[in-house]
């Protein structure tokens, strides 16, 4: 049987869809890790990015630290955390959070900084205080780039959660790691394809959420095309847009 035929067989075997080691369980675990990580990372990174972007102070440090953290090797961080703090859920999640923060922070900071100063000025002119400017003007206007950061971070986390199976976590990465250990390439391939599919689905869902949440007027950013001086619009709410704006993921 060719590997593709074996793969089809594996995916259509009902035993692989049941029980504690079945696809639904692993999928649920993977979503659990991703959701938990994103929650914690967003609670840390988004307010920080907004605050630093709004006040304009500490921007260099924040961007520098974010870029530095981006260079951290996933496997290295996971193994250190597990050896230092033991296995269980929290230590690997901690590592995942550290790796999810850079894109979130970078995206939020960039978004706030990119808000047209004239708009902020107008808000102040209307009498809004700092807080109000921040929450009612800057954040909504920064949403496209913030969402770019969220999408980038989500992909990063899905990828890192896959690798976490190496340090004992569950999730879809389990099929990949176990498949390699047992030389069962069908299982590894199935795991890889499932993870890829999950990443794409999550990205599409986030795109939909972005379309719903972000004000339509912000979904297109104008750039002047140098060719004939005409305005060109770039749709920020499409899959792949986050690649350019927040530098993509590192896992």
């Amino acid at each position: 049987m060719s590997l593709w035929a074996q793969l089809w067989h594996w995916l259509t075997t009902s035993a692989n869809w049941q029980g504690g080691t079945g696809i639904p369980t692993r999928l649920a675990e993977h979503l659990e890790y991703t959701g938990l990580t994103m929650l914690i990372a967003m609670v840390i990174a988004v307010p920080l990015g907004i605050a630093v972007g709004h006040t304009g102070r500490g921007g260099v440090i924040v961007v520098g630290v974010a870029n530095g953290l981006r260079a951290l090797p996933t496997l290295g961080l996971l193994t250190i955390v597990v050896l230092a703090a033991g296995i269980g859920l929290l230590p690997p999640i901690l590592a995942l959070v550290v790796l999810a923060i850079p894109p979130l922070l970078a995206g939020t900071y960039a978004g706030i900084r990119a808000v047209d100063p004239a708009v902020v000025d107008a808000a102040k002119g209307v009498g809004m205080r700092g807080w109000q400017v921040m929450l009612r003007v800057e954040v909504p206007n920064a949403l496209p780039l913030i969402f770019g950061g969220i999408r980038s971070a989500a992909l990063q986390v899905v990828a890192t959660a896959t690798i976490s199976a190496y340090v004992g976590l569950g999730g879809l990465g389990r099929f990949v790691i176990d498949g390699i250990a047992e030389q069962d390439y069908t299982q590894a391939l199935a795991g890889a394809l499932l993870v890829a599919a999950l990443a794409i689905v999550i990205d599409l869902v986030l795109v939909l959420v972005q379309r719903l949440v972000v004000s339509p007027g912000l979904n297109e950013v104008s750039t002047r095309s140098a060719r004939r001086g005409t305005r060109r619009t770039r749709n920020l709410s499409a899959p792949g847009a986050e690649v350019a704006h927040t530098g993509g993921s590192s896992s």
Binding site: L3, N67, G68, R70, A71, L72, P73, T74, L75, G76, L77, T79, I80, V82, L83, A84, L155, V158, A159, T162, I163, Y166, V167, G173, V176, I177, G179, I180, Y185, A188, L189, G191, A192, L193, V195, A196, A199, I200, D203, T223, S225, A226, R227, R228, G229, R232, A238, P239, G240, A241, V243, A244, G247, G248, S249, S250, S251
Partner: protein, 216 residues
């Protein structure tokens, strides 16, 4: 801490050779990716259809987690289990996904009047591309390359899970022997590689764009 330093002193050769392997595996995809992205990006500036296709295609490819791609590519291409191509091809794909965007942005940012002037001076299109468009694209390209390179260096260590060598070996071995110090050395080494590569790229950018440093 002293245990780690003692270990490092005794194993400099190993760390250095793993670092070189790591660097190779990370940078070759970036170089190949850059070379491939330039014509692809150029094509995208000429055709709206291609532009959108690339947009969605590369966005899609970039979303695929690295370990997944490392497993799937050998199956599609039929390469051997320990073939370094299993690492190089996915990393090249990631670089292309990132850089085509940069190339498009860079080429479109060249002021039309500069192009017009070059044509007026007698530059043929191909010559003009290499003499005007590309040099002016350098800053944006370098920015994209920096992201691609750092990302690549970070991803090579995942290769340790599929048996391909690099600093990632220090992670798996350190974990097996319960030796955090070894893992830390690997992480630091990886960060140093990323930093040095970043600096080299910034330098290359400066050297090739003297006009950005001219003060009037």
């Amino acid at each position: 801490m002293t245990g780690t330093m003692t270990w490092l002193n005794a194993h400099w050769g190993l760390v250095l050779s793993l670092s070189w392997q790591h660097w190779y595996l990370a940078l070759i995809p970036v170089l190949i990716g850059l070379v491939v992205s330039i014509p692809l990006g150029w094509l995208a500036t000429r055709s709206k259809v291609l532009r959108n296709t690339f947009f969605y295609l590369f966005g899609f490819l970039y979303s695929i987690p690295s370990l997944a791609l490392f497993i799937v590519i050998p199956v599609i291409l039929g390469t051997g289990i320990l073939d370094p191509l299993n690492l190089i091809i996915p990393l090249t794909i990631y670089t292309i996904a990132l850089m085509v965007r940069s190339v498009v942005d860079a080429l479109e940012a060249v002021p039309w009047h500069v192009r017009a002037a070059a044509t007026a001076m007698g530059f043929r299109p191909l010559h003009r591309f290499f003499a005007v468009d590309l040099p002016m694209s350098v800053p944006v390209l370098i920015a994209g390359l920096r992201v691609a390179a750092v990302s690549s260096i970070s991803l090579v260590s995942v290769g340790a899970l599929i048996g391909l060598s690099g600093l990632g070996d220090l992670f798996t071995e350190g974990e097996q022997h319960q030796f955090i110090g070894e893992i830390v050395i690997g992480v630091v080494g990886s960060l140093v590689l990323a930093l040095v590569t970043d600096l080299v790229l910034v330098l290359i950018g400066r050297v090739t764009t003297p006009w950005t440093r001219v003060r009037t």
